[in-house]
Symmetry: C2
């Protein structure tokens, strides 16, 4: 499976939409919809029906011609294709307001994304227990990443400390980073950074809705 995916190039936008499809398909299961065709699925996701079919076709033939896609098995097919049908262990750096909020956000664990260790460079925070986890010094990162099998790092530091946090993670062997800090990170090409930035979205809203 994974081999097939590496051969074709899959657009980044496709991956984003697949996450949306899962979201919407899960809503359909709540309403006991068992089979859905590309048209209503596309409508619910705000995209074109051909787009849905093409996105899914990158990963296999999940539909039944003349019928549609069985909802439950399609969810499984997508999550399996993306590799999110297993546990992912994560470490978080920066135990401030935002970091604590993410720790309290139950959805992560519910979807298999498990925050196992939390770090901060503030000596007053080290040792504190937050949401059942002890705040550690970043010097312990390499050891704990190996021991716990951590694969993803989350950065929730202030912007000026984000780059250092990234370097700590990378030195510990992490190559996948989710960055909530409002800063761009300079990393080598084998490291993937995803940026979560509320202000991007607010700026987009502001631009499209000018006063009067």
């Amino acid at each position: 499976m994974a081999d097939v995916l590496k051969e074709k190039h899959i657009p980044r936008a496709t991956i984003q939409r697949l996450a949306t499809y899962v979201q919407v398909l899960e809503a359909f299961t709540r309403d006991d919809v068992e089979v859905i065709s590309s048209n209503p699925l596309a409508l619910a996701c705000g995209v074109n029906a051909s787009q849905v079919r093409k996105d899914l076709a990158y990963f296999g033939e999940f539909g039944i011609r003349g019928v549609g896609y069985p909802v439950v098995s399609l969810i499984k097919a997508i999550t399996s294709s993306l590799g999110v049908d297993r546990e992912w262990r994560m470490a978080l750096i920066g135990v401030g307001n935002l970091g604590k909020a993410l720790l309290n956000h139950g959805d992560f664990r519910a979807r298999g994304f498990n925050i196992r260790e939390i770090f901060d460079c503030d000596p007053f925070k080290i040792g504190e227990i937050v949401h059942g986890l002890e705040v550690r010094c970043t010097s312990e990162l390499p050891r704990l990443v190996t021991e716990e099998g951590i694969e993803i790092g989350i950065i929730t530091t202030p912007p000026e400390r984000a780059q250092r946090a990234a370097e700590h993670l990378i030195n510990a062997g992490i190559t996948a980073i989710l960055n909530f800090a409002p800063a761009r990170l300079q990393v080598s090409s084998n490291v993937t950074v995803e940026y979560v930035d509320f202000f991007n979205h607010l700026y987009a809203l502001a631009f499209r809705h000018p006063k009067d």
Copy 2:
């Protein structure tokens, strides 16, 4: 200014990058950089230098040929072009974990995005004070939106209540929505919804970093 922008079509991706440029330019001001050319700016943002110049050129001629862009005045030019150099008043629906975390997140106010009213449909929460704001019943939305001049709605409800929250906002006259709930919203074409979804990003990381 705004007239010019409505004539040309500006790619959505350009708006996103402009937000990034502001972020990076602000970091440069912290290091007392006064003038920057498109090349180093592009490098810091992880994009092509022509891309930077083209993005900026949509809005005007902000650079000095042979020299570069004055950092401070470029920040002002971009924020003014996007319309984010003023106060934006917002209302939040769904005072749960995530909602409370956003209320505690000081960056919003610092950038002029001001959460003025908070709502919940849980009668046990109504009346509670969170971060200096009283939780209101959604039935009060239309009145408060008008009175407070609220232009943007934030949804932080569970997914199954997101659509209703959106309808409350739209009925109150809001046409710009920032949705943190993991659900797609069905809205008419005059309403803009921006989706903030951590899992999109985690899925992208998971897909690009398969085990072994």
